[in-house]
Symmetry: C2
Amino acid sequence: MTWIPSHDLPVSGSRFRAVYHIHAESSAAARAKAEDICIEETIEYPAELVPAGGIRDHIFGQIEHFDPLEEGGYRAVISYADEISGWELPQLVNVLFGNISMKPGIRLAELDLSAPLLARFKGPRFGVSGLRRLLGIEKRPLLSTATKPMGLSPAELAAMAYELALGGMDIIKDDHGLGNQPFAPFKERVLRTIEAVQKANAQTGGRTIYIPCINAPFEEMLARIEFAKAAGAGGLMLISAHCGLDFMRRVADDDSINLPIMNHPAFGGSYVLNPQTGVSHQAFYGQLQRLAGADLTIFPNYIGRFASFSRADCAGIALGCIQPMGGLATIFPAPGGGISPDAFADMLQVYGPDVAFLMSSNLHRESSDLAGTVRRYHEMIEKLN
Amino acid sequence: MTWIPSHDLPVSGSRFRAVYHIHAESSAAARAKAEDICIEETIEYPAELVPAGGIRDHIFGQIEHFDPLEEGGYRAVISYADEISGWELPQLVNVLFGNISMKPGIRLAELDLSAPLLARFKGPRFGVSGLRRLLGIEKRPLLSTATKPMGLSPAELAAMAYELALGGMDIIKDDHGLGNQPFAPFKERVLRTIEAVQKANAQTGGRTIYIPCINAPFEEMLARIEFAKAAGAGGLMLISAHCGLDFMRRVADDDSINLPIMNHPAFGGSYVLNPQTGVSHQAFYGQLQRLAGADLTIFPNYIGRFASFSRADCAGIALGCIQPMGGLATIFPAPGGGISPDAFADMLQVYGPDVAFLMSSNLHRESSDLAGTVRRYHEMIEKLN
């Protein structure tokens, strides 16, 4: 008997595309890798045992284009039937870059999803325009920072947040290492910081928001979010490499939460660091985070202490934040990692004005007058814009 | 004023260690990277602004050893205060490999957790001994397989599972690409497959278990698990790179679920593929999955169609599955990805008998008599053991 019949399948007719960059010793070898992707990401079964008919026609990935890349390597555009995603994000990502994440010489460069598939995802709840409305900032770049370091008490972190808000910081987030440690327990930290930011806002008439870091055991994730929401948090920071991209999507979709989401890139750098494997900066920090509902996507800037992302990598992220993706809102790139005002002008060239500068270390290095430094940064941005 | 006081901190006194492999142009440069890890994974703040006292003494990472590696590069053992993990898995992973995942030349090679920290984690619920008891298999390697390909109907997948169980397959799992697609909806697939496996078990007196793939939107993850449990599933397959390591931990810890967990490695390969970045095979597929409660950890074998993992990489995974980690149970490495019986003897050298061979493609290539092939594989393993 044969295990694989040739019967018809229920098909949607629409297909999504992924662009892969492939490295191999020859064009033929790269083409063979592209053909392998069509199998490995779908049937994961000997192709020679699959007869003509439904599965071969509708489940196999299909190479739509295959060309050499100017910078070396090859570009394969592969399409997949929408329905093999089950119209669900985890399985969609699974098709885009599942088993092939374990094969060398393959990089997911870009997503090109169909309109019917994109229509299943709400994406960012706020996006650039929603967040600008919320903050009351029309056109200029946003300024954001983190309260830190680990080891400070809730009162100390709150005092820092107060000064930063007094200076007009737009977004104050927890450092990503602040969880629920004994020296700054989550609830007390959130309550105190919100109180401090509200006090500063009352004095300045400003609209600084505080975004706590939500990085908790799963049993507590939603409870921490609800607590933060009830306490008056202005957004939520998730670390999608810890909680999963789809958990972020679930939080973004939840009408009862209704808060902007900032993605922190910790634990996820391994996807992008090596140019011949993993996922491109554009797709990983831009398109995927956006598809999963992030309104702001943090990453290390090309000028700063990380020195691992190039200017082109960061331009790719900026592109992923705004390139057409059905009705999905555009989002803010939030470059950080040791940036200083010297880089403002160049960064505006790369990101445009829809950017959230994330500055902490150098802000603290400048002076203990945090409010004064924030005011000065705003003046510098004002002049450049 | 100064923002960082020198007051005391509540400290546990215990510390956990991580071993990093560092690549840089000189010993001094590698040492500087190790020092950077101590800051980047903890305070993420200018060290020069932190006075002597609590934070410097108890929050900074500390280099315990620093040596050159025989194979090139350097080995840094860095310790962190237990309490900066908040005693929670996501933040623990965040400290071990958070921001430094975005810095080149740093690889997390091994975890060396303290007894108090390990005591907070239950780890694998079944482990090698529990799963052997459940399956009634004393000493021999386990045989496992996946029903596939995508595109088959629930009845067709179930018919395949029936034959495989009839032949004595120990574990039958869904292919990792089977989610909730229209051609094989989750519930119907699970019900039909369980029915088929139970029918075969009744005929053979065997104890084949069926492990469905749980890869769903977060709103449905627990519901699918509950459905599978109620229907009689013998375990659960999670894809931790999609759902998050801590979600797996949460499922493993749940007494009301009480099922063995198999981790599938899709989307996670980017962590291990490049030897100078990411996480070692031992730590990623072995230690971390085990800490998060996997009873079986799937990965591509060194002989097979992936050809991206070396024999040494796989031996590392085997080590991570059994090396002492407090009271955590040892677990089964489940090498797959195009293995055939030719490799059994060599694989037993690498993995020992506590291994679950995961075979599908080549099993189907041998003959359409799936039951017969499974019986023959068992005979071959019997002879080798």
